[in-house]
């Protein structure tokens, strides 16, 4: 843009600079807070440590050496991936239906889907716990000799279900926004070209939604990794059983081992950043084709 030389524009130029400065400072403050949060965690672990200690006796390395933390990492990776996949599985049809059709009760459905987002996490956990006190969850499962309640509550499936209950709501929002951005004409053209509704969905809408699905999966995965409240109530925090990384932080804190809690927190940061990077790189590749 070329500046024009009159008083009004010169005055405007100065106010523009001030405007950008203000916007930069306000936005920068939050970015700085995020960076400082992570830096503080790292600094806390490195405080007063020698190079040898940093490399070989680092609390993260020590944490990774503990079998219960290794179990917690494994369970976290598996449960987050499963709950993210389940979230995507329900988010795709709901997002598509909400985006493409206007039907009676659509607004009510839309509001219901926001409940897990606005509800306090503890309440989600408590509600799950109470739900499993009712039929059919109390009914004996044939051949297993136990009820669903016994098989799920305070067991590993409870971890996945608690994570899924909240993460899916975020995935649904992402998928709805994704389908909103995809031109519905493409699916309509596919119908005229001989497709059934299902073929148009599978062959045209779904591939076009690829990047959105990746974002929804990442968001659900990260959300599941950070889930704590519902897990504590519905799955418990039993070491080597239902302990995931967020519960590890809580358990380490409760026994006064702040260093281990920080170390596990940093492992969570690394896991989340890695997933974010992988999906960003895949997403970017997809766009470049």
């Amino acid at each position: 843009m070329t500046p024009t030389h009159n008083n009004h524009t010169l005055g405007g130029g100065l106010s523009d600079k001030l405007f950008f400065l203000c916007m930069g400072i306000i936005g920068g403050t939050y970015v700085l807070l995020i960076v400082l949060l992570l830096t503080a965690d790292v600094a806390y672990m490195l405080k007063g440590a020698s190079w040898h200690e940093i490399v070989f006796e680092n609390p993260m390395v020590q944490a990774l050496g503990k079998p219960e933390i290794r179990h917690s990492i494994t369970l976290s990776l598996i449960s987050c991936s499963l709950s993210a996949l389940l979230s995507l599985f329900v988010a795709v049809p709901i997002g598509w239906l909400l985006s493409r059709f206007r039907f009676r009760g659509r607004n009510v459905l839309d509001a219901i889907l926001d409940i897990p987002i606005v509800l306090p996490p503890l309440v989600v956990g408590l509600s799950l716990l109470i739900l499993f006190q009712f039929w059919p969850f109390t009914m004996q499962v044939p051949f297993l000799g136990k009820s669903l309640n016994e098989l799920v509550v305070y067991q590993v499936p409870a971890v996945i279900l608690a994570q899924f209950s909240v993460a899916a709501a975020f995935a649904v929002r992402t998928m709805k926004a994704t389908f909103d951005e995809i031109n519905p004409r493409c699916e309509q053209v596919a119908l005229t070209l001989g497709c059934s509704r299902m073929q148009a969905f599978m062959r045209v809408a779904l591939p076009e939604a690829g990047r959105g699905m990746l974002t929804a999966f990442t968001l659900a995965w990260a959300r599941a990794l950070g889930e704590f409240g519902p897990l504590l109530i519905f799955a418990g925090a039993t070491r080597n059983k239902t302990e995931v990384l967020s519960t590890t932080v809580f358990l380490e804190m409760s026994i006064g081992d702040l260093e281990a809690a920080v170390a596990v927190s940093l492992i969570m940061v690394l896991a989340a950043v890695t997933v974010l990077l992988i999906t960003r790189i895949w997403g970017a590749k997809d766009v470049m084709v």
């Binding site: 031109n183 053209v189 070209l193 059934s196």
Partner: protein, 214 residues
């Protein structure tokens, strides 16, 4: 041949009531009217994307009023082309034939033939991102013509085409109709387009269609 007999179509608050139109086989019809007069709604009713509340639609003498879009055998070219962003141009041109489970060799042959005819051979390996308005329309037209439809519906196909390529597109549309003998209904609000191309001009205004002499 397309025959609309007193059809009523509703979209939200907007209603097209008891509209009739007849376009003979092999004719090139232009449907004109101001923006918002219901041209696209009517087109969508013919295609089967919008349900009709009354009247009948016949295509080639067959009642298709309540038939699925796939069963009507209509080639549809929407305003923006609505190309499939994840498919190459070759895949888009062969899409309708692939859905019909035609042999691969036959699909390749038809795609090559269409690409040569529409002058888009150099685009076959590409995806639609970055194509010009004219190129997009050629691809969309090729995709719609691949399965040899009896009817071709064009929704403002030249609105995104610049002045310099407009003449080429006129030639192409004339060639398409002459060589395939397809019945064309071309929606436009541009009188010049209608005069250049159409055998019959239909004007939609105030919910009524009247046929005008060119």
């Amino acid at each position: 041949m397309i025959t609309l007999d007193n059809i009523t179509v509703q979209t939200g608050e907007f209603v097209l009531r008891e509209v009739s139109l007849q376009l003979e086989a092999g004719e090139y019809g232009a449907l004109m009217g101001r923006t918002g007069c219901g041209k696209t709604t009517l087109l969508e009713a013919i295609i089967g994307l919008k349900p009709v509340q009354g009247g009948t639609i016949h295509i080639g003498g067959v009642d298709v009023t309540h038939a699925r879009p796939a069963a009507r055998g209509i080639g549809y070219v929407p305003q923006d082309g609505a190309l499939f962003s994840t498919m190459t141009i070759r895949e888009q041109l062969g899409f309708a034939l692939e859905i019909r489970r035609q042999p691969k060799e036959q699909i390749k042959q038809r795609v090559d033939e269409l690409a040569k005819w529409l002058n888009i051979e150099h685009l076959l390996a590409r995806r639609p991102h970055g194509l010009s308005g004219g190129e997009r329309q050629r691809v969309a037209m090729g995709r719609a013509l691949a399965f040899n439809p009896a009817i071709l519906l064009l929704d403002e196909p030249l609105s995104a085409v610049d002045e310099t390529t407009r003449g080429d597109m006129y030639d192409l549309l004339r060639r398409v109709q002459q060589e395939t003998e397809v019945t064309v209904l071309h929606v436009t609000h541009n009188l010049e387009e209608a005069q250049e191309l159409a055998d019959a001009v239909f004007v939609l205004s105030d919910g009524c269609i009247r046929k005008e002499e060119i």
